[in-house]
């Protein structure tokens, strides 16, 4: 890929929703003004998707990628396309050449009986092919698990800010039993800051989860929590300043009911 690596890293952070607001704005202004910039972002995106499929992203990046790309129909199509390109026979079908390799092994095994002189050479080739086949099976299984297998089930909810006292008006969410991850999109009223501190407490004030510093994504802040980590109860998400000069405190009150 062309371009300085730090620039590429910035774009990756943008695509994963991790770039602070001020840097996001600059990047977006650049690609709106110049199609070449947009193409560069798209090239980095293509590499990011390939890295995901290769299992080359860190655990955090993988989590961020899946939260963003596998839950948005528009972005998921791109990941599915990249996966399909690596398997030209389609999504479900096994690659054609895998059968060809298997057939070659059969032929090679039959060849063992044909000439004792050739046995040792053929054995070496067969072992190579078997190793190759095993590696391909493993890679294929990993990809299947990531994209076609038991995909993470994400329930997304959008919350508006409100007063903690307004429990009667709290938003109510029903979470199906098969949901593994809960994504909470907090709508921001007014201008967004570059970072917030986010935490989740029960209405009684017990801390359930602390996300630490989080960057907004346009006019909202996205948070995720494992469904297993929270029970049916009333909760308050506090979105406060990440620094002393940060934005004013906001509260998001909601009731969660698990099926």
């Amino acid at each position: 890929m062309n371009g300085p690596p730090e620039d590429e890293q910035k774009i990756v952070r943008y695509l994963l929703g991790q770039l602070p607001e001020d840097e996001r704005t600059v990047l977006e202004q650049q690609y709106f003004a110049d199609p070449a910039h947009l193409e560069r972002v798209e090239m980095v995106e293509a590499d990011l998707i390939d890295s995901y499929l290769d299992g080359a992203l860190s655990e955090t990046e993988t989590h961020q990628f899946e939260a963003r790309y596998l839950s948005s129909p528009a972005l998921r199509t791109k990941a599915e396309l990249a996966k399909a390109l690596r398997s030209p026979r389609g999504l479900a079908a096994a690659p054609f050449w895998r059968y060809a390799v298997a057939a070659s092994i059969v032929v090679l095994v039959a060849g063992l009986g044909w000439s004792a002189y050739r046995v040792s050479q053929l054995d070496t080739v067969r072992r190579d092919l078997e190793r190759h086949l095993a590696a391909e099976r493993s890679r294929s299984a990993a990809l299947e698990q990531r994209l076609s297998g038991p995909a993470p089930v994400i329930a997304s909810f959008v919350l508006s800010p409100g007063s903690e006292r307004a429990i009667a008006e709290r938003q109510r969410f029903l979470v199906p039993s098969d949901v593994t991850t809960i994504r909470l999109r907090l709508a921001l009223d007014g201008a967004a800051a570059s970072a917030y501190h986010a935490s989740l407490k029960t209405f009684e004030g017990h801390l359930v989860h602390d996300w630490g510093a989080v960057a907004p994504r346009g006019p909202s802040v996205d948070l995720e929590i494992a469904a297993a980590q929270i029970d049916s109860a009333d909760y308050v998400i506090s979105l406060g300043p990440a620094s002393p000069s940060g934005p004013a405190h906001r509260s998001y009150v909601f009731q969660l009911k698990k099926q």
Binding site: M1, N2, Y14, L15, Q29, Y31, F32, A33, P35, L38, E42, M43, A46, R68, S71, S72, P73, A74, L75, R76, T77, K78, E80, L81, A84, L85, R86, P88, G90, L91, A92, W97, H132, A135, E136, R139, S148, A151, V153, I154, A155, S156, F157, V158, L159, S160, Q171, R172, F173, L174, V175, P176, V179, R185, A187, R217, G218, P219, S220, K257
Partner: protein, 173 residues
């Protein structure tokens, strides 16, 4: 009678297409569930502003700001819709593998023969093979490694645009 003359907002069709495409990408990267619809809504608003006589010096920058508002409103609408307790669409359900496969096949058929061959070979094989395949491919097409990457990227983009259009069309059937 005086006839008002107004400068057209887009000098060429390409300019319009480029702005719409940029909006779709911007909206998708910022979490829009249906970026195509929101891009159209954004362009309509930009045109309305122009019709009302507003002077817009930097059209792409103005379009981006308008798209921010459109997206923000869309999120608020989602908030109202989903406070009743329903979840957004489940990604495991929203993706129809069969529809995707059909669209992909249709889009591949629309590629030039050389492009189809290039993209299939470019992504074939495991890591070691892939590198060797790409070297052979570059030699065969008389391209440098960088030029081959760019060409493969553009074919992938072409397929991606075709897929988006096909999936939208088939989704509405």
């Amino acid at each position: 009678m005086k006839t008002a003359t107004r400068k057209p907002p887009f000098k060429t069709d390409d300019e319009y297409r480029q702005l719409r495409y940029t909006l779709v990408r911007y909206l998708a990267w910022n979490g829009a569930q249906d970026p195509e619809d929101l891009a159209d809504e954004t362009i309509l608003r930009v045109l309305k502003n122009l019709e009302s006589g507003e002077e817009i010096r930097d059209l792409p920058a103005f379009a981006r700001t308008t798209a921010q508002h459109v997206l923000s409103e869309n999120l608020r609408r989602q908030a109202r819709r989903f406070t009743s307790g329903a979840a957004l669409s489940d990604p495991s359900e929203s993706f129809a593998a069969e529809r995707f496969s059909r669209c992909l096949e249709a889009c591949k058929k629309r590629l030039a023969r050389a492009d189809k061959e290039l993209i299939e070979t470019y992504y074939s094989g495991d890591k070691g093979e892939m590198i060797a395949n790409r070297k052979k491919l570059a030699k065969r097409f008389g391209l440098s490694a960088g030029a081959l990457n760019s060409r493969a990227f553009r074919i992938r983009q072409k397929l991606s645009s075709c897929l988006d259009g096909c999936l939208r069309k088939r989704g509405g059937e």
